[in-house]
C-alpha cells in the first residue's frame, strides 16, 4: 500500500473534488477498474475529496461523466509538478547540474591529509615523505595504492613502527605508531668497556664484571672509561671480558638567566581586527587592505579547510587573520623581583632537562648584580647512572 502511494508521489498525483449525487457508484466503479483512491474525505453529502494518480485521472474523468459527477482538480502534487514548476528557470537548473557534477568531480581527489599518532616526528616531515611516495594533496583517489605506499614508507623510514591508511571521502587519514629508537645492544659474547655519558663526580662504582678504573670521588669527563672490559690475574694474564656493572655519579646541570631591570613590556589591548582571505590551492584572494590600522600588533593566522558533511574536504581554504593591538609599557623591577624571576626561569628550564626529579640532591643559586641587570646561575646536583657499554675495538 505504502509503496503504491510512494510510486504515485514519484509519478505525480492530484487531489480532486468530486461533486454529484452518485458518489458511491463512482467509488465502486473506480475500485472495480483498479483505480487507487486514498485519503478520501466526504466534505458534504454531495462532495468528495480524494487523491488520484495522474495515470488514473483520465479514466476517473470518464467515470465521472458516466455517473454525472463534476470533477475539479484542487491540488497537484508529486515530483513531476515540482519539476514542471522549475522548467522555466533554465539557468537555475544548469547551475544545479553544474554544482552536482562539480561535487562529483571534486570528490574523486584527495584534498586533505590527516596524520594521527605522531608526537616526535613533525607532521610536515611525514607529509613530505608521503609526497615522495606518491600521496599528495590533489591526487586522484583511484591512483592511491595504499599498500605500496605503506610498504615504501616503512622501508624508507625506520622511525615508524606501523602505518595505516584510510581514505574517507576526500580525506586521507594516516595513522602512525612511532618506533622507539633501539639502543645499540652489544651481544654478551663481545668485549666491551663501560664509558661515562656525562661528566660529574663518582659516588659509587659497582663492577660486576671487569676492572674498575675510577674511584669514589673522582671527577670524570664525558667519554672516560669507567669499568674496563678486562681482568688481570696473576697466572692467566690479561683476559678480555664483557664488562658489566653500574656507576653512579653526581652530575651538575647549570642554567643562566639574565634579567634587565628596565624592561619594555608589551601587552594586548581590547581592540582587534579580523581579516579574511580565500585560498584555492596556492592562489590567494584577499578581502582586505594589507595595511593594519594599528601601529604595533600581533598577528594570529588561522586556516580552515572547507568541507561538506564530515569528510568531504574541498580544495578551498579560508584564512583568518586576527590582529591584536599591542601597547608598550616601561617597567622597572626592583632587584628582589628580578632575582626571583631570573631564578624561577632558570629552574623551569632545568627541570625540563632532568628526567628523575627525586634524585636531585642539591640546588645552588648564585646571583650577579650590576646596575642594569641581574644574572642568576642555578645549579642542580643530580645523582645519576652514567655508564653505557662501548665495544672494545682492537
Amino acid at each position: 500500500m505504502y509503496t503504491q502511494i510512494l510510486k504515485n508521489y514519484l509519478l505525480g498525483y492530484v487531489r480532486v473534488t468530486i461533486e454529484g449525487y452518485f458518489i458511491e457508484r463512482l467509488i465502486n466503479l473506480c475500485v472495480k477498474k483498479g483505480i487507487l483512491l486514498w485519503k478520501s474525505n466526504r466534505k458534504k453529502s454531495t462532495l468528495l475529496e480524494t487523491n488520484v494518480s495522474i495515470q488514473d485521472f483520465k479514466t476517473i474523468v470518464e467515470i465521472a461523466k458516466q455517473t454525472k459527477c463534476r470533477i475539479k482538480i484542487k491540488q497537484k502534487k508529486g515530483l513531476p509538478f515540482v519539476f514542471h514548476k522549475y522548467k522555466k528557470r533554465k539557468i537555475f537548473f544548469i547551475f544545479l547540474c553544474f554544482i552536482v557534477v562539480g561535487i562529483l568531480f571534486l570528490s574523486n581527489f584527495v584534498w586533505n591529509i590527516e596524520i594521527i599518532g605522531n608526537s616526535t616526528i613533525p607532521t610536515e616531515e611525514i607529509i613530505q615523505s608521503l609526497k615522495e611516495e606518491g600521496l599528495r594533496i590533489g591526487i586522484i583517489k583511484n591512483k592511491i595504492d595504499s599498500k605500496s605506499i605503506i610498504n615504501k614508507m616503512r622501508l624508507n623510514r625506520n622511525d615508524l613502527a606501523w602505518i595505516g591508511m584510510e581514505v574517507k571521502g576526500t580525506n586521507v587519514i594516516v595513522k602512525i605508531v612511532e618506533a622507539d629508537k633501539k639502543p645499540d645492544i652489544i651481544p654478551e659474547d663481545e668485549y666491551c668497556n663501560i664509558v661515562a655519558t656525562k661528566s660529574g663526580r663518582i659516588v659509587k662504582v659497582n663492577a660486576v664484571n671487569g676492572t674498575p678504573l675510577v674511584k669514589e670521588g673522582d671527577i670524570i669527563k664525558e667519554g672516560t672509561p669507567l669499568i674496563g672490559g678486562w681482568l688481570e690475574g696473576k697466572y692467566t694474564g690479561t683476559r678480555y671480558v664483557h664488562a658489566n656493572g653500574s656507576v653512579q655519579a653526581k652530575v651538575w646541570y647549570e642554567e643562566k638567566e639574565k634579567i634587565e631591570l628596565k624592561q619594555v613590556i608589551t601587552s594586548k589591548t581590547q581592540s582587534k581586527e579580523t581579516k579574511y582571505s580565500v585560498r584555492i590551492n596556492n592562489f590567494t584572494i584577499n578581502f582586505y587592505k594589507t595595511l593594519s590600522k594599528f601601529q604595533k600588533y600581533d598577528t594570529i593566522e588561522e586556516n580552515k579547510k572547507l568541507k561538506l558533511f564530515s569528510d568531504f574536504y574541498l580544495p578551498i581554504e579560508i584564512l583568518k587573520k586576527t590582529n591584536y593591538e599591542l601597547v608598550e609599557q616601561e617597567k622597572t623591577y626592583t632587584k628582589e623581583e628580578a632575582k626571583e624571576i631570573a631564578s624561577n626561569q632558570a629552574k623551569m628550564r632545568l627541570e625540563n632537562q632532568i628526567k628523575e626529579k627525586e634524585n636531585i640532591l642539591n640546588t645552588y643559586i648564585n646571583y650577579q648584580e650590576t646596575e642594569n641587570y641581574i644574572e642568576a646561575q642555578v645549579i642542580y646536583e643530580v645523582l645519576e647512572e652514567i655508564g653505557t657499554k662501548e665495544k672494545i675495538v682492537f
Binding site: M1, I23, E24, I27, N28, C30, V31, K32, G34, L36, L37, W38, K39, S40, N41, R42, K43, S45, L48, T50
Partner: protein
C-alpha cells in the same frame, strides 16, 4: 448446493487454507477505536461523513461515527479512519 459446500469445507480443512482466502467472508480488523480495516468487501453502498455502508458477500456492514474517511481503497480491502461509534451487520444470505 449445500452438499458441495460441505465437501469444499472438508477439503479446505484438510489443506489448512486460511478462511479469509478460501471463503468469501469479510475480515474486519479494528485497530484502537479509530481505524477499521475491512478485507473482502464487495462495494460501497453509501458513504457519508457519519455513516458508511458496505456490502459484502454475506451481508451488509454499517459503520456509524464522525469524520469518517476512506483512507486506502483497493480492490478487496478498505481502511476507514475516524471516530467510530458502532458497527452493525445485516445478514442477507440464508443458511
Amino acid at each position: 448446493m449445500k452438499k458441495t459446500k460441505k465437501k469444499q469445507n472438508r477439503f479446505e480443512e484438510l489443506l489448512e487454507i486460511p478462511k479469509e482466502i478460501s471463503s468469501e467472508e469479510p475480515k474486519l480488523t479494528i485497530m484502537g477505536f479509530e481505524e477499521l480495516l475491512i478485507e473482502n468487501y464487495k462495494s460501497i453502498l453509501e458513504y457519508q461523513d457519519f455513516y458508511v455502508r458496505l456490502s459484502t458477500h454475506i451481508g451488509i456492514v454499517n459503520i456509524n461515527g464522525f469524520e469518517l474517511k476512506l483512507n486506502e481503497m483497493t480492490n478487496d480491502d478498505i481502511l476507514i479512519t475516524g471516530k467510530i461509534d458502532s458497527i452493525d451487520f445485516e445478514k442477507t444470505v440464508d443458511e
